[in-house]
Symmetry: C2
Amino acid sequence: MGVTRDDVARLAGVSPATVSYVVNNGPRPVSAAARARVLAAIEELGYSPHAIARSLKTQRTESAGIIIADMLNPYLASVAQAAHDELLQQGYSLLVANSSESPARELMWLKFMRSRRVDGLILEPTGDNLPFLKRLAGPGHPPQLVLIDRAIPELEADTVLLDNVGGARAAVRHLIDLGHRRIALLGLPHEMSPGGERLEGYKLALRAAGLPIDAALIFEGTFVADEASEMVSRLLNVRPAPTAVFASSNRLARGVLQQIKVRRLRMPDDIALAVFDDVDYFEWMTPSITAVEVSGVALGQQAVDYLHDRLTGAYGGPPRLLRIPYRLHVRESTLGMGESAV
Amino acid sequence: MGVTRDDVARLAGVSPATVSYVVNNGPRPVSAAARARVLAAIEELGYSPHAIARSLKTQRTESAGIIIADMLNPYLASVAQAAHDELLQQGYSLLVANSSESPARELMWLKFMRSRRVDGLILEPTGDNLPFLKRLAGPGHPPQLVLIDRAIPELEADTVLLDNVGGARAAVRHLIDLGHRRIALLGLPHEMSPGGERLEGYKLALRAAGLPIDAALIFEGTFVADEASEMVSRLLNVRPAPTAVFASSNRLARGVLQQIKVRRLRMPDDIALAVFDDVDYFEWMTPSITAVEVSGVALGQQAVDYLHDRLTGAYGGPPRLLRIPYRLHVRESTLGMGESAV
DNA sequence: CTGAAAGCGCTTACAG
DNA sequence: CTGAAAGCGCTTACAG
């Protein structure tokens, strides 16, 4: 706006320092008379303190960044939203960025966040850029790094993950309990921790039931939505045919729904479906979709809490790791319409 | 990180100014030898230019803000994502904030964005805070304001809206063409432009067909999702019963799906449904849902283009207003399963 | 092609 | 309770 602290000081007839003390409510007292004159001058001029200049002096920006793969994914959107709300409570703002699963873009954003001197950084890592991250996340100096969703064991950083193994195992066990013996896995890339761990949960459930692990039923997908449908198409053509599918993400589930529609199949009679990651619509679709719910809100809040502990010095110990629990919602896509408890 | 331009200058054996000229590639030439020494020193020290300090001097932050009602709404998420991507192209970062439909929270964010000196601000306004916005959006000084989704005629600002009237009219006309005579409207708050305009489109379609406008069939909702289901419940109890519903938002549509599920109704036989705002799942549900698609991506990009024009001085004229066109996707929730063209 | 220096708008120790 | 002043890390006109 062009109006600075000095303008306010001049109009109020005090020193610039006094204006600062009024604006910041401290750290030293200001007489009631001077305060009143300053506040009146601020009002009259429409003065807005320059947060950028303040940051330069204080060496804190009161801001955090979050880099996620895709804010259109409702799960990640809820993580970002929760982080946003939680940070707001603590007086921080949030810079949201999309890596789009691209390591190059991730690196660009990492550099950007560093140049903007964010106090904290929440990262859903692509898995690359390890050397850069190691330098960035050195202890003591900002930004304070918290990893979410995907583990990077080589990095000394607080991490919040999902209980991928538990959730996948529970979903597949549920399918087995219903009598399914040929259960296909629609997986995320196995080399990343969510993909690998959901695959592991799938295998554990089969093994526990004494069922064979058939490589022909295991499909490894990418994050690209369009590929899902084609992959499901191949999956449905396997013989003997699978009677159930466990989809490792809501994106992959969409591919299943798409093929079911195109082929005019019925759930669960022709094929049963269970999904990792619940979406609002799953509950109100017909048939409703059985899904493992993992709270993006809980994950986002936890990440901010970890950040906050470090930033305030409330915690200074070794890296922490926490897993957000899952909840299995059994619905009509596995149970059938008649038995539904809606 | 603590390492500053002066550290680099010292190690490279040049003046601090020369470091700046290398980092910024100008505005004056640097000898190849000096450049090489500077680059080596930057690499060795891990120097990261301090964007905050730079902003203070240049008076530009190369950042923009967006304040939307709710980033969990897939439509608004796509707007934010598109704005993010478009700004990225132009070297800007984006600060995302949620007003949650709260004027107080909106005001807080407006002040925050101003104090952070964002160059541009994209706002989906709650409708309040007009005096503050008027001062904020004075011509010439930052932040440059662009309104989205909701008009505020009293404000001199570029605005990007949806073709609410056209989209609603097309959907209701489609229902009329199928023979429906009692069509209920599930509306957004009428006093805001999207709610009012979608209501107007509904009325226009009825009038054009010579049908009466029955106040008993018009429901005015809020943005709270939970209320939708209860409102739909009342709607379905109107006698004579409506044979079709036009839902003015994806949130409201969820309430319809919920009641349809609870009451075990069939679409479109018991009740037909058309929705303003398409959601990915609508296409793959059974029955698939007829919806008016409005591109959040187009809206986000257009908002950024408006911003960019102003920021670069490419446009300096009077406020502009643009409406994003709609597209009606006719699906099974109105057409029936047999006739579907999937 | 290069350096010394002013200044962006603040905070806060120093001195009264 | 208050003011004058140093300094945060940069950019860029000024002078050579």
